[in-house]
Symmetry: C2
Subunit: 324 residues, 2 copies
């Protein structure tokens, strides 16, 4: 896995977009791609391809490398534009593109990155292109839809749990499923195998986002790296918040419910944590994560057993913080 991750790193820096002109358009692409990250999505693409190539190609060739790079470029394009929309000034400890350059350049270099992602993803034999395009277009639109729902939720007073799950499915899970799918297409998977693998990707994507919501409040501050409770500071309606509101409603705890709504408006982390503790919303979230993870593993068990599958499992444990 480390070797594959190194290959992705090397190939990304070989792309060297900033060698193109105008510099202001292409330099931000290299900048965001060099900010680091675990390359989980492109690794999924490479491994999904290997899963279906069924060890016939054990010459170390990475058939889905362009698609993997395309997925990483696309993911970073979404981060770049999301940071503009969310007015975020820091990403992975570094200034965001619209801060380091300006908003115009951030919008435009993001647009160029979306084109660059298409160029990589469609770097494949002609007969694969209709399938690759259908898969990637679906993913790309889904991610846009998820981000729009996320923005809508900022001003929406009541968000139901099913609306929230649909938002994170689109915003997060669709891209993980899509990354796996592009690899599966390159590896020659059948329609059914692809559907099963996407099912896996969607479920681990959902588990990942819920885990993210959970860790934001319950992680060990020393090892977490981010500030505890930042979702509350940013007044985000996470799984924990929406579930807590629903539980308090069910239990007719009108007063606590109003208290919680008010506490989010005030970004009052300690009051919220106390309320969550009373109704044990953390356990609900953990159970949901286990559910999605279990569904995912059941799907994966239908697919061929080989080395790539073991690596997909290991990578998923990394994604879900299970391998510490």
């Amino acid at each position: 896995m480390k070797e594959l991750s190194k290959i992705i790193d090397e190939k990304l820096s070989e792309l060297n977009f900033a060698a193109n002109k105008p510099h202001e358009l292409y330099a931000p692409a290299d900048y965001v791609l060099s900010l680091g990250g675990k390359h989980i999505r492109p690794l999924f693409t490479l491994l999904a391809c290997k899963l279906f190539e069924r060890d016939t190609k054990d010459n170390g060739e990475n058939t889905a490398l362009p698609q993997a790079l395309g997925v990483e470029i696309f993911h970073n394009f979404t981060l770049l534009h999301d940071d503009v929309m969310d007015n975020a000034s820091v990403r992975r400890g570094k200034p965001t593109v619209h801060i380091k350059w300006n908003t115009g350049t951030a919008i435009l270099s993001g647009d160029a990155m979306l084109v660059l992602a298409y160029m990589q993803i469609t770097n494949a034999p002609a007969e694969k292109l209709p399938t690759l395009l259908k898969s990637f277009n679906y993913t790309a639109l889904g991610v846009c839809e998820g981000q729009q729902y996320d923005m809508n939720f900022e001003t929406k007073t009541e968000v139901t749990l099913s609306e929230y799950m649909e938002m994170i499915r689109l915003k997060t899970a669709v891209l993980i499923a899509g990354a796996l799918d592009l690899g599966a297409i390159m590896g020659g998977a059948t329609e059914n195998e692809r559907a099963v693998l996407r099912e896996y990707g969607t479920n681990i994507g959902l588990a990942f986002q819920l885990q993210d919501d959970l860790l934001d409040l319950y992680a060990d501050e020393k090892t977490f790296g981010k500030k505890i409770g930042s979702d509350i500071t940013e007044k985000k309606k996470t799984y924990l918040y929406i579930k807590a509101l629903e539980l308090l409603q069910e239990q007719n705890c009108t007063q606590e419910r109003a208290l919680l709504i008010n506490a989010l408006q005030q970004s009052d982390v300690s009051t919220i944590k106390t309320l969550y503790g009373k109704i044990n919303v953390k356990t609900c979230c953990q159970k949901e994560i286990e559910n999605y993870y279990g569904t995912a593993l059941a799907a994966l068990s239908e697919l061929p057993n080989n080395n790539a599958k073991k690596e997909i499992e290991t990578l998923t444990e990394t994604l879900l913080n299970r391998n510490r």
Copy 2:
């Protein structure tokens, strides 16, 4: 031609993006596409296809219709994002998307439109896809590069004429050449025929942009529809301005040169018009337009003579305001 334009209008409204959810993501796409315009780019796509189909298909079928729609969606995506970058509040007499909705929605619905453009453009037989993608990716990146140069020029004190011509080639001409090229690919043109048609498109694109610069100051206000001198009000370094600076430099008119630079900073339309009159920069621009138009027509003469070619010529006259 009117019939083809009507087909484009109908098909664009049939796409009915706003029927998809979330509404906030897709409604802006329908909105910008419904603001009107002459559909010159998609008409070029349809006609270029017909030019090479060589009347073999006279059943009224429009082989390149998806590509034509894709070109129009792409063009409107660039207008949408350009309006955010330029902070423009009005487009064709209506509020721009970031004014009517908000900046986040404008960025995101633009992103979705770029994906929707790819979906239309790649709606073609698999064997055509590598060529269509190569052509469109080149166009899309070129347009981004042109817009970045245009933004760079806002803060750059000295812009040379060749830098300016390269900017408008990328920002304007590449898309007209690209629109023609996608049609030519669908019509089965040879590599050489495509190159000749792109040459045509690039040259009429350059002539169009220079004509645009010229009309901004010298059009008949009654029939023009826009305010005279708006490029100067917006402190834009157009062909007229850059050429005037170069002529004044050649003629060692240091004082007038400084006067012109200052007049643009002050958005002083009348002083600029007087200076332009003294050195006859309008005639220089007209000659350049004729040059590019002549080069374009010479290229077109190499291509098959048929009804579609006559319509391409007529459409070009519309684009260049020559058929009044």
